[in-house]
């Protein structure tokens, strides 16, 4: 009896010890591994290959953060999360950083205890329909059944769009993307609605990808970005500037192949970017050569894009809005100085 009581008391004390959430950077360094929450299975973005190694666009972002913090892009533990569970996992401290196809919105930034650190992919919500249905516009979707993933902005955008167009529709929602795609493929729905990145990725996994088309309308703005917990500015900076360094590297023509040679460049902005001049490492709490590690081990933004989802990948997505600001897109890194 007495020992039971002692146990309870100990438990009570343990529970009331406040945990510190502010030093994610120190924790990651101490543990020697970055815990990163990603999509469970979205081709091109986050998917384990046949050897169980995680690959994809958002996966590479996590690897870049690991390269910046730990000097090794392989020291990442990936936690696959459904859209429903992703923010809770970040809030509760189960993961250090969330690199999901998560849309940056005002309410998520202000009411979930998390902060988005930037936009690694500018996306928009679209519709995929069967060619056989002869639909050319989203306005022809009267009475359609639409498969969506639960707990995403997709559900909200659908309701907004169809209400403004006075079109009647039915949603069929599932918790994970695979069930949604399966339901569409098996004919439970007429339409699959998601961010176009996800639609294109899903199409790759379908048995008959050519039977479906993506309609031209985009009904929303979906800036997808990484998120961290609120109250840890240092870690937010790491997440933010890792992304900017990748974008700035592309802008300055620094690639994983030429990064070592570029260190002796005369261009002052390249010298600052690679930590040859200035103090890009010390101020943020990382090693001086962290941008070099990021670019060398993972690549610049353009390399990561082309390799995973762009021209060198099966997805073959256009750069579009994700081209650099000086090439017709909106990817733009603040100056590094």
């Amino acid at each position: 009896m007495r020992s039971t009581f002692k146990g309870l008391l100990a438990l009570a004390i343990a529970c009331t010890t406040s945990s510190v959430w502010s030093a994610t950077l120190d924790n990651v360094k101490k543990n020697g591994v970055l815990t990163c929450g990603t999509n469970s299975a979205t081709a091109g973005f986050s998917l384990p290959d046949n050897e169980g190694k995680w690959t994809g666009f958002v996966v590479d972002y996590c690897r870049a953060v690991a390269a910046a913090v730990l000097g090794d892009a392989q020291k990442v533990k990936f936690i696959p999360l459904t859209p429903k569970d992703r923010f809770t996992a970040l809030q509760s401290g189960e993961i250090d950083i969330l690199a999901h196809n998560a849309t940056w919105t005002s309410s998520r930034d202000t009411s979930l205890g998390i902060l988005f650190a930037g936009t690694y992919f500018y996306d928009g919500q679209g519709f995929m329909v069967r060619k056989a249905d002869n639909i050319t516009s989203a306005k022809g979707l009267e009475g359609a059944s639409i498969c969506v993933t639960q707990g995403t902005t997709t559900e909200l955008n659908l309701a907004d769009y169809f209400r403004s167009q006075s079109i009647k529709y039915t949603t069929v929602g599932f918790a994970d993307e695979e069930a949604v795609v399966k339901a569409y493929e098996e004919g439970r729905c007429d339409v699959l609605s998601a961010d176009t990145s996800t639609l294109n990725a899903s199409r790759l996994r379908m048995a008959k990808p050519d039977d479906s088309i993506v309609l031209p309308e985009l009904i929303s703005k979906e800036p997808l970005g990484p998120a961290v917990r609120q109250g840890d500015d240092q870690w937010l900076n790491v997440a933010k500037w890792t992304l900017y360094v990748m974008v700035a590297a592309e802008e300055n023509g620094v690639t994983s192949k030429n990064v070592d040679a570029m260190k002796s460049s005369d261009n002052p902005s390249i010298r600052r970017l690679l930590g040859v001049d200035g103090s890009i490492g010390k101020d943020i709490g990382l090693g001086d050569d962290w941008p070099v590690q990021v670019i060398k081990q993972v690549g610049n933004y353009g390399e990561v894009f082309d390799h995973n989802i762009g021209k060198d990948s099966p997805l073959k997505m256009e750069r579009g809005m994700n081209a650099l600001w000086n090439k017709g897109g909106v990817q733009y890194a603040p100056p590094i100085r």
Binding site: L112, G151, A159, R188
Partner: protein, 395 residues
């Protein structure tokens, strides 16, 4: 020195060596530490949430939800609040659980009695059903009904047409819409009148039988009244109820009422699965009634059907009801597996989409848990009342 003013028992009751006092002391200690633990966890959660900037408020309840739900029994649209979305979830959970309990009980009783049948085939089929269904995980069964039975149904354009304007496709079962015209109330009134007549007849038949032993043809007369009288009124009032057949337009049938495959899969899965357990409970309940009871009933000249209905089942019910209660509670809790097949129950809507849109994980989960607790406690107390009703009244 002797202190005679203090009575001996009261002094003993204050002693820590008294087992009773010690017992109470430990009970209080345990209750106190559990309370402290709960308080500690609650306060820690609150402070952690404050540290992480997550508001611990219920303000989201009255905010607009902004998403649609495909199956609702109460008014709801995207402009409704999260609170209304919650009620849609609660009602959907109750709806599917209630229907599944009815079906599972009916099916369970039939299978349970069939297992005891003297007909070899009937009893073996019933045994096979129980053993097959009871030993496969419920989630797999739900996925089977949904993915292997209902989703492969033909697309809307190739719907299976059932006479009477009913269509079956992979979007569900679409039945004609019932339209009421003036005079429809009369038909309803006729039905209610017929029903009251039947009840009166039933009481009269019972008293006649008690007095004279004669039996009146209650069932036949009741059926004739229940169908015949409203039918006559229906024709006389100029057929005021009409059915509008659903029409295939665009992607799916328009008009008519739709029964979604997600709902059907959940209802069938829950009923079939729970029925296998209920069948076993019914079988063991019936077998627990001494064989002498049946023999005595036969000796009195009761037919087998009547023996079962009037002698065996009332006694078996006393044994059946307590374990039946736990099956009902299991069924209600199992209905949360809806989330895997896309039926919008409480977990899918509230602990799913609402939790995700608001980020109020702690509040939403606390509310969801409380709802299941309340539903289960209510079911349990209803069944306990039922049990008291059937319990042996000592005379």
């Amino acid at each position: 020195m002797s202190d005679l003013s203090l009575p001996a028992p009261s002094r003993r009751s204050l002693s820590l060596h008294d087992t009773k006092v010690r017992g109470i002391f430990y009970q209080l200690l345990l209750a106190g530490s559990l309370l402290a633990l709960a308080l500690g966890i609650g306060m820690q959660t609150a402070s952690n949430m404050r540290v992480r900037g997550i508001p611990l408020s219920f303000d989201f309840w009255n905010e607009s939800a902004g998403f649609d739900i495909n199956q609702t029994l109460i008014p709801y649209d995207a402009l409704s609040t999260y609170g209304q979305a919650f009620w849609v979830g609660v009602v959907n959970t109750l709806y599917v659980s209630f229907l599944a309990i009815l079906l599972a009980t009916l099916l369970g009783f039939v299978i349970g009695v069939a297992r005891l049948s003297s007909n070899w085939i009937v009893s073996k089929v019933a045994t096979a059903y129980v053993e097959l269904v009871r030993n496969v995980p419920l989630l797999l069964q739900l996925l089977f009904w949904y993915n292997a039975v209902l989703k492969p149904l033909p697309a809307p354009k190739a719907s299976i047409a059932i006479p009477g304007g009913i269509y079956l496709n992979n979007r569900g079962l679409i039945i004609p819409e019932i339209q009421l015209h003036s005079g429809a109330g009369l038909v309803g009134l006729a039905f209610v009148t017929a029903l009251s007549c039947c009840v009166a007849l039933w009481f009269r038949a019972r008293s006649v039988q008690r007095r004279t032993g004669k039996q009146l043809p209650v069932l036949l007369v009741s059926l004739a009244t229940l169908i015949g009288f409203p039918l006559v009124v229906f024709l006389a009032a100029g057929e005021p109820v009409s059915f509008v057949a659903p029409q295939l337009r665009g992607f799916n049938f328009q008009g008519g009422h739709q029964l979604y495959p997600e709902f059907a899969a959940l209802l069938i899965g829950l009923s079939v699965y729970t029925a296998s357990y209920i069948a076993e409970i019914v079988r063991s309940g019936i077998q627990a009634v001494p064989k002498g009871q049946t023999e005595a009933a036969y000796a009195l000249g009761l037919a087998p059907g009547k023996t079962l209905r009037l002698v065996v089942v009332p006694q078996a019910l006393r044994i059946i009801i307590p374990p039946l209660t736990s099956q009902y509670l299991n069924l209600i809790k199992n209905s949360s597996l809806a989330v895997f097949i896309g039926y919008p129950d409480l977990v899918q809507i509230f602990a799913g989409t609402v939790l995700n849109q608001t980020g109020a994980a702690v509040q939403v989960m606390a509310i969801t848990l409380s709802v299941y607790l309340i539903i289960s406690l209510a079911t349990s107390s209803a069944m306990n009342a039922c049990n008291r009703h059937f319990a042996i009244v000592e005379r």
